[in-house]
């Protein structure tokens, strides 16, 4: 109850905020300086330096200005086209599954079930484990000949595929592990979103004789929209720049079949093509911005209309 009243008061106060901000602040602007220095040194300067170095052939020992050649090379990189589509597939699959599973688990874990607190911690637990640890564990579990997963399927009479070694499955296998690891956070956001729905709506619906499905469709789904937006944005950004899990599990392999943009960039960096990999990072920056910025605008506008 307290949570909702705080939310309500914040909302009411919000329109007044800009007007208050325009009044002269009693504090000197110099207070911005420490933050500005930290931001400048750690973010602004490196960002502009990387835009510059993406236009050079850079070998750490020296650099040479070559214009946009790096971008041309990068877009001719055969692994890149594959990496770009893989990145999109990976982001959409993980983001979609996290929304669906996170919402279902969120509803389940806000309903009156036995051992709810315990189950909530169980669902959240994978989020706490190191990504590399998860990756290595699942690499062992998914081994086609000796792994536990295919052994278990074998006892049921199913011949399991080479999860990480078959080009058809490698990327999706990693995506599923990503979902396993990340769904706890999505569930947490959904639990918070669902709990903050005022109980009066649910009571009123029940009095009017709404079925469980109608309660979900007409009340929970629309009113948990801020949670959905947060989950979609967070998991999409996470999916677009995902690297650690893929690197721990397949290293982009077999061959180039599970390469994503981030692993392509990392490989250029490893090979010593620093200018080229910096150009790749600029491309990644542009791609993520181009996808997430409009999407965020779109989703948030819808929220206001509600």
């Amino acid at each position: 109850m307290t949570a909702t009243s705080v939310r309500a008061s914040v909302k009411r106060a919000a329109p007044a905020a800009p007007a208050a901000g325009r009044r002269r602040s009693p504090y000197s602007s110099w207070f911005y300086l420490p933050a500005a220095i930290v931001y400048g040194v750690l973010f602004a300067i490196p960002t502009f330096a990387s835009f510059f170095f993406s236009l050079t052939r850079w070998s750490i020992f020296d650099w040479k200005f070559i214009g946009v050649d790096n971008f041309v090379t990068f877009f001719q990189e055969p692994a890149l086209v594959k990496g770009l589509t893989n990145t999109l597939i990976y982001a959409v699959v993980t983001s979609g599954l996290k929304v669906v599973l996170g919402m279902l688990l969120g509803i389940l874990l806000t309903s009156q079930i036995v051992a709810r607190g315990y189950l909530r911690s169980v669902v959240f637990f994978p989020v706490l484990v190191s990504t590399i640890g998860v990756g290595l564990t699942f690499t062992v579990l998914m081994n086609p000949e000796k792994g536990l997963i295919n052994d278990a399927l074998g006892t049921l009479g199913i011949a399991g595929p080479g999860w990480l070694t078959d080009p058809k499955f490698a990327l999706l296998s990693v995506a599923l592990v990503d979902v396993w690891k990340g769904v706890g956070l999505a569930t947490l956001i959904y639990i918070a979103g669902i709990v903050s729905i005022p109980a009066e709506y649910l009571e009123a619906a029940r009095v009017d004789g709404a079925s469980a499905w109608e309660v979900f469709r007409r009340i929970i789904l629309p009113l948990a929209r801020p949670a959905t937006v947060t989950v979609i944005l967070l998991s999409l950004i996470g999916g677009l720049r995902s690297f650690d899990l893929i690197w721990a599990m397949t290293r982009g392999g077999p061959g180039f079949t599970s390469d994503v943009i981030a692993s392509v960039i990392y490989k250029q960096y490893q090979a010593g093509f620093y200018g080229l990999s910096t150009a790749g990072n600029v491309v990644l920056f542009v791609v993520v911005t181009a996808i997430v910025l409009p999407l965020s605008r779109f989703l948030n506008r819808k929220e206001v209309e509600l």
């Binding site: 070998s59 020992f61 692994a79 090979a271």
Partner: protein, 436 residues
């Protein structure tokens, strides 16, 4: 509030600690005129064991110089560490690193101390010397023996199936058919360790040179390509052929080098294209392999021209950041490595992968059979060639991914070779070579 104070205290403590370690870096050799050298090597047994042995024997001879061995990861990650530490002037006093194209990539003239004027320079094998030379100056001494990229084979499995050591690719494929009929996996491949997939291409280079002696020069000058030179393309085709014919172990995509060596030593697999450097470790785990595992060069088209592709050992170098009495000590240490005592110390600690390219250094009598099989090729004129990476600086970083794809049937040989030709372009441009 209390937690704030604790946090602040921790922060101050961290600052104090950082201050301490920064200060003590400069004064690590304050123990009574004793010089301490740090020596960076990669973290494989084949490097750390001989390095420790060298350090120990060297200190026994020079009691006032102490050598501390430090380790780093191998592969591209190690390359990065070397480059970063060199460029920041933070390198150890001496370090171990590849010779050949990787050596050229660390800008030796800018970063390393030349050793051409040292007395031992004349004792180094000429082939090795060319791989650690830049701008007419020699920069390193050899660490370990030459390594062959060849086929390791199980002699018992060969005898059981009635197969002879092949000299041509046709013989090799015929032998594979016999081995398969005898119930043995003919060819072992282990694509979880992606680098192991490159041997069919890189180890075939002697056959390329035999067919086209000018290939390396033309390749460096951007005139010859893998995809358009039949002899060079053959390596990719061979990789595809053994996969398409079903001669690989069925779990090739999910196994690692160690699994492959186990299969070979236990005789479930008959042939494993591999670097001879693995023989030492294999014998430690499977004593039987000392006599049962032999080695032959990758077969080509012409039996008369068949020969071995060899890799020169890595070198030990002194960075320019080593100065003063440390530099004198480092020079002494390099002289020791390039002496017969140094060879003996290394060979005692770990079986060398092949002959050590220093005058007067002989292979110990108890090396594995696979290592002994290298010598006839080396001592016969024209029966061995340096690997491509020692005669041309052009080496693409994605070869191992491409060979995994070709060897797993994901990509065809011709397409793989063409893709590799594109891949090397970046390296050539990065090095600023003419004609790219």
């Amino acid at each position: 509030m209390k937690s704030c104070k604790v946090l602040a205290a921790a922060g101050i403590a961290a600052l104090a600690l950082a201050g301490c370690s920064a200060g003590s870096l400069g004064s690590s050799d304050d123990s009574g005129g004793k010089v301490s050298l740090s020596f960076l090597v990669d973290n494989t047994d084949g490097s750390t064991k001989p390095a420790e042995a060298l350090a120990k024997d060297f200190t026994a001879k020079n009691p006032d110089i102490e050598v501390k061995v430090e380790t780093r990861p191998g592969g591209s990650e190690g390359d990065n560490i070397i480059k970063t530490r060199l460029s920041t002037g933070d390198m150890t006093d001496v370090f171990l690193y590849n010779s050949g194209s990787l050596f050229q990539a660390i800008a030796p003239q800018q970063n390393l101390v030349p050793v051409s004027d040292q007395a031992y320079a004349g004792d180094l094998d000429q082939n090795f010397k060319t791989t650690v030379t830049a701008g007419g100056q020699v920069y390193g001494v050899p660490f370990g023996g030459v390594t062959a990229g060849a086929v390791l084979y199980n002699k018992k499995a060969f005898a059981k199936a009635g197969v002879q050591v092949p000299k041509t690719w046709a013989d090799f494929m015929a032998g594979n058919a016999k081995l398969k009929a005898a119930g043995v996996t003919p060819v072992i491949q282990t694509y979880q360790d992606t680098w192991t997939s490159q041997l069919f291409v890189l180890g075939d280079f002697h056959n390329v040179v035999a067919a086209d002696p000018a290939f390396a020069q033309d390749y460096t000058a951007n005139k010859a390509k893998f995809a358009t030179t039949p002899a060079a393309l053959a390596g990719f085709q061979h990789l595809q052929e053994v996969h398409d014919a079903g001669y690989l172990n069925k779990d090739f995509a999910s196994t690692k080098l160690d699994d492959g060596l186990k299969m070979l030593a236990e005789g479930t697999g008959a042939q494993y294209p591999m670097l001879s450097a693995v023989a030492g470790g294999m014998v430690a785990n499977y004593p039987d392999a000392a006599t049962n595992i032999g080695l032959f060069a990758l077969p080509g088209t012409d039996a008369a021209k068949n020969g071995l592709t060899v890799w020169e050992p890595a070198g030990v170098y002194i960075p320019k950041s080593t100065t003063g009495e440390k530099l004198d000590a480092a020079k002494k240490f390099l002289a020791f490595i390039a002496s017969t005592d140094g060879c003996a110390a290394q060979a005692k600690a770990y079986p060398p992968s092949g002959p050590i390219p220093v005058k007067g250094c002989a292979l110990p009598a108890d090396v594995p059979q696979a290592t002994k099989d290298i010598e006839p090729y080396i001592s016969t004129p024209g029966a061995s060639s340096l690997a491509l990476e020692f005669v041309s600086p052009v080496k693409g970083p994605a070869l191992e991914q491409i060979t995994v794809e070709v060897g797993s049937g994901i990509r065809k040989a011709a397409a793989g070779a063409a893709l590799y030709d594109e891949d090397v372009k970046k390296q050539a441009q990065q090095l600023g070579l003419a004609g790219w």
